[in-house]
């Protein structure tokens, strides 16, 4: 059973954002990038956990991103992934999520994949489209908001849990499949120094974007590329809370309720 995990390197969630000169994205200059998107890291962990528990074959990680994304892939290799593939995009390219899914599908088709896994969404664009779209492009079932999975290789089904509004569903479905993970069973492991060193020598294949796009071929539907970013804007900085003062807690509560009713009009 071979697993592919799609990952993305994103700006550190606490990094200060500035708008790029184009006005259409954030300015990557001076931005600190996290090693890998939290949900994707949890997904890599889940894949490695299953590999260890169920004796899977290889775990391979794939990303579509600029050259710096190699760092994210090396991190997944240090966690324990066996191989990695980087589809290298120009430094500031903003790709539509469906196009990313299409590129990933073209690359994944050439790799063994009993299971393709993605994190719920990337914490930068928060699109959350890639898993379901990958399912469609690969002609596989897709399952999302999954919070844990166990493969039954004999019956060729995955036993899973998923979040739905108001509760949690236990469900099963066939694989090969694409699974979007909300969270895994375990917290992601921290790579050890020997594993970080080992990861430097693990295979990491680079595919230039044009080569990947050539594999993609014509996109379905008439109006492609699909969405165009017109603007990226930052809200005015928050003024900070209006502090409710008072001699006693009673007075504070009274003033708070008055503000919520008369000023904010939310009660």
């Amino acid at each position: 059973m071979d697993v592919i995990v799609c990952v993305k390197q994103i700006p550190d969630p606490e990094t200060k954002l500035r708008v790029a000169a184009s006005g259409k994205s954030y300015d990557p200059d001076g931005v600190k990038f996290t090693i890998v998107n939290t949900y994707d890291e949890a997904t890599v962990e889940e894949a490695l956990r299953m590999k260890e528990e169920f004796g899977f074959g290889a775990v391979r990680t794939v990303t579509v991103g600029p050259a710096r994304s190699e760092e994210a892939l090396r991190h997944t290799l240090a966690m324990g992934a066996d191989e990695a593939v980087l589809v290298e995009t120009p430094p500031n390219a903003v790709l539509d999520p469906l196009l990313v899914a299409r590129i990933l599908s073209a690359v994944i088709k050439d790799m063994p994949h009993d299971l393709v896994m993605v994190g719920k969404h990337a914490q930068d664009d928060e699109a959350g489209q890639v898993g379901s779209a990958l399912g469609e492009y690969l002609g596989l079932p897709s399952y999302a908001f999954v919070t844990g999975l166990t493969p039954d290789s004999g019956a060729h089904v995955l036993k899973m849990a998923r979040y739905v509004e108001g509760g949690e569903e236990a469900f099963g479905g066939p694989f090969p499949a694409v699974v979007s993970l909300l969270k895994g069973v375990k917290d992601p492991r921290t790579p050890t120094l020997p594993n970080i060193l080992k990861a430097r020598k693990k295979p990491l294949k680079k595919i230039p974007l044009p080569e990947a796009l050539a594999k993609v071929g014509a996109l379905p539907g008439a109006g492609n590329p699909t969405s165009e970013t017109l603007a990226f804007t930052l809200p005015p900085p928050r003024a900070g809370a209006k502090m409710i003062e008072g001699q006693t807690p009673e007075e504070q509560v009274e003033k708070l309720l008055k503000s919520l009713k008369e000023e904010a009009k939310v009660l």
Binding site: P11, L17, Q123, V130, G135, G223, T226, S227, F232, L234
Partner: protein, 327 residues
């Protein structure tokens, strides 16, 4: 330019979710601004009688239903196929909308990939353009920035719940049109739900609630958390928690708000004894009004809150509950 908007509703538990009615309301507004067209409620699933009846009175001008035992368990592949059958009964140009519930978020990107559409998720505004395209806005980076997108071709959009509002539905009363499913495609077969554990209790769902009352580590003990729940009950609110509370085992993971929990979008978010770590904040920044009660005047949550009270949660909570019960 007229647009026919197909609203894929969510009625996982048999009744039309509020977020689905909100999507139908917004569809009406967009159609009106665009210069006309149909608002088609598209219901996919099994045992949809009640929800279809509700859809007839929620602003749809047509109600198309694919009701089949084979659709009892949700699967993105199966439901995308069924939505395609509905779309075939509606004249182009199409726009697809759905509420950004777990179902909408899983289904619409698959549908978008299938039909070569132009997909945007969790949008907070929709403006029709003269050429038939749509301009939408959505929050990114945990609410720290906004993205404005132009969607051409066939727009496929999920709507952030509570971002649009529900209008009183006009008096339209379309008949229910049944669309036969036929066979499910192979890729959509074999999904089975074996168990459902409800976390709802008698409070509204976190992701749908108009008011959320949350407690953090500052509540000190599992027992004190009852104070949070009492206030929530008085307000008809949902109960949330920080990860510290879940990690301490005071409340189950289904209560967790934030990056690895749920994203909420209420009118009012009340946080008691929560410091305001970035991982918590990304789950709450879509709230219209945030109130923080914390004994530390330097707690970071006061930077994002609209109203702050420096005080002891254990004192303030019962006072609030009492004041609100009296009314």
């Amino acid at each position: 330019m007229t647009l026919n908007i197909i609203v894929v509703t969510d009625q996982r538990d048999g009744t039309l979710k509020g977020a689905s009615r909100e999507s139908l309301s917004e569809a009406r507004r967009v159609v009106a601004r665009a210069g006309g067209g149909d608002v088609v409620a598209c219901l996919v699933g099994h045992n949809l009688g009640k929800a279809a009846e509700e859809a007839r009175h929620s602003g749809a001008s047509r109600v198309l239903v694919v009701d089949d035992e084979k659709l009892k368990a949700f699967s993105a592949a199966g439901y995308a196929h069924a939505v395609g059958l509905v779309a075939a009964k509606v004249p182009a140009p199409h726009v697809f909308l759905a509420p950004d519930t777990t179902m909408g978020r899983e289904l619409l990107p698959r549908l978008g990939a299938r039909i070569g559409g132009s997909v945007a998720t969790a949008v907070t505004s929709i403006a029709p353009e003269a050429d038939g395209s749509l301009t939408v806005q959505r929050k990114v980076f945990g609410g720290r920035a906004t993205e404005t997108l132009r969607l051409r071709g066939t727009p496929v959009i999920t709507l952030r719940p509570n971002a649009f509002g529900i209008d009183a539905s006009p008096a339209s009363d379309p008949p229910v049109e049944n669309v036969p499913l036929g066979d499910l495609p192979a890729v959509a077969q074999g999904v089975q739900v074996t168990n459902f554990t409800s976390t709802r209790g008698d409070t509204p769902d976190l992701t749908e609630a108009q008011i959320v009352v949350s407690g953090g580590r500052g509540m000190k003990t599992a027992e004190n958390f009852v104070l949070v729940e009492n206030l929530a009950k008085t307000l008809g609110a949902a109960v949330g928690a920080s990860r510290a509370v879940v990690d301490a085992g005071w409340r189950p993971a289904s209560f967790q708000v934030g990056q690895t929990g749920k994203t909420v979008q209420p009118q009012l978010y009340l946080a008691f004894g929560i410091s305001g770590a970035i991982q918590h904040l990304v789950g709450i920044t879509n709230s219209r009004c945030i109130v923080a009660v914390n004994k530390d005047p330097a707690a970071p949550i006061f930077k994002v809150a609209d109203y702050g009270v420096v005080g002891d949660a254990m004192t303030v909570l019962p006072l609030l509950t009492k004041a609100l019960t009296k009314q």
